[in-house]
C-alpha cells in the first residue's frame, strides 16, 4: 500500500476515533480532544500532496462530492436542533438559518447527484450490511456482558462519600447555602 493510500485510511480512522471520543462524557462537557482529533483526521484524509492510488482516489473524490451537500446538511441540522423547542424555547434565528441550510443541502444534492431507480437494490443491500454489522456487535456485547462475573452488592456510602455526593449535587443544582 502506498503512503498516500495509507494516509486516506489513517485520516478516516483518526476522524472516527475523534468522533467516538467526542461522544464520551456528559452532554454538558464532552471530551476536550474529541472534536480536534476528528477535524485532524478529516484534514489528514482530504489534504494530500499527491493523488492517492485506486481505489482510495475514488473514495476521496466521492467524499469531496458528498461534502458539497453534506456540509450544509450537517450545519443546518445542528442549527435546527439548537433552535427547535426541544429543551428550551424556540430560537428563531438559528432555526430559520438551519432550515435555509437544509433547503440548500437538498438543492445541492439534486443538482450534483443523479438518483437512478436501479440503485434502490444497492441501497437496500448496503443497509442490510450495516444491520448485519450492528447485529453481530450487539450479540458480541451481550455475550461479553453475560461472561462478566456478577459483582457483590455495593455497600452503602460512607460519611465522607455522602458529603462529597451532596456537595456535587449542591454545586450542579446551584443551591445556595442552607439558612
Amino acid at each position: 500500500m502506498s503512503l498516500w493510500a495509507a494516509q486516506v485510511w489513517l485520516g478516516m480512522a483518526i476522524a472516527v476515533i475523534g468522533f467516538g471520543m467526542h461522544r464520551t462524557g456528559p452532554a454538558f462537557r464532552r471530551h476536550p480532544f474529541g472534536a480536534p482529533v476528528a477535524l485532524l483526521g478529516l484534514a489528514v484524509m482530504l489534504f494530500r500532496v499527491e493523488e492517492p492510488p485506486q481505489p482510495e482516489s475514488e473514495v476521496v473524490a466521492a467524499a469531496i462530492d458528498a461534502a458539497m451537500w453534506l456540509l450544509p446538511a450537517l450545519i443546518g441540522s445542528a442549527l435546527v436542533l439548537m433552535g427547535a423547542p426541544l429543551y428550551w424555547r424556540t430560537r428563531l434565528l438559528p432555526l430559520l438559518a438551519g432550515w435555509a441550510l437544509i433547503v440548500v443541502a437538498w438543492c445541492q444534492y439534486y443538482s450534483t447527484m443523479s438518483v437512478v431507480l436501479s440503485d434502490t437494490l444497492r441501497w437496500v443491500t448496503a443497509l442490510l450490511g450495516v444491520v448485519l454489522a450492528f447485529t453481530v456487535f450487539a450479540l458480541c456485547v451481550r455475550t461479553a456482558e453475560r461472561m462478566t462475573p456478577q459483582e457483590p452488592e455495593t455497600e452503602g456510602l460512607s460519611e465522607k462519600e455522602r458529603k462529597y455526593v451532596e456537595s456535587v449535587l449542591r454545586r450542579h443544582l446551584e443551591v445556595a447555602d442552607e439558612p
Binding site: 476515533i17 464520551t24 448485519l132 461479553a144
Partner: protein, 118 residues
C-alpha cells in the same frame, strides 16, 4: 457474474466491513477501565474478514490486502449512497421537532422566571 449482482454484493460486503471497522475505531476512541472490548472487537474483525473474502470471491481477486482496501472503498461509496435516505428521515424529524410545542413543565417555568447563571 452479472454486474448488477456484483454491485449489490459489493455494497453489502463493503457496508458490513466498513461499519465493523467504525465499531472497532469507536471502541478504541471510547476505551475506559470498565470496557470489555475483546469479544466485540473479535466479532467485528470476523465480519471484516468474511466480507473481504465474499467481495474477493465475487470480483474474482485474491483475498489479500488489496481486496480489503477495495472492500472498504466499496463500503464508503455504499454508505455515501444511503446518506441521503438518512438525511431525508432526519429532515422529517427536524420538521416535527420545529413545529412541536414545548410541553409546559413547572420546573422549567421556575427556571425561566429566575435570572440565568452568572
Amino acid at each position: 457474474m452479472n454486474p448488477n449482482l456484483e454491485s449489490v454484493i459489493s455494497a453489502f460486503a463493503g457496508s458490513a466491513a466498513l461499519t465493523s471497522l467504525f465499531i472497532i475505531l469507536a471502541l478504541i476512541g471510547t476505551l475506559n477501565p470498565y470496557h470489555r472490548p475483546a469479544i466485540p472487537m473479535l466479532g467485528a474483525s470476523t465480519i471484516i474478514l468474511a466480507s473481504t473474502y465474499l467481495f474477493a470471491k465475487t470480483v474474482g481477486i485474491p483475498a489479500d490486502s488489496v481486496a480489503l482496501r477495495m472492500t472498504m472503498s466499496e463500503g464508503v461509496l455504499a454508505l455515501l449512497d444511503i446518506l441521503p435516505i438518512v438525511f431525508l428521515m432526519s429532515t422529517f424529524m427536524f420538521l416535527k421537532a420545529s413545529l412541536r410545542k414545548r410541553p409546559e413543565d413547572p420546573l422549567l417555568a421556575l427556571l425561566e422566571s429566575e435570572p440565568g447563571p452568572k
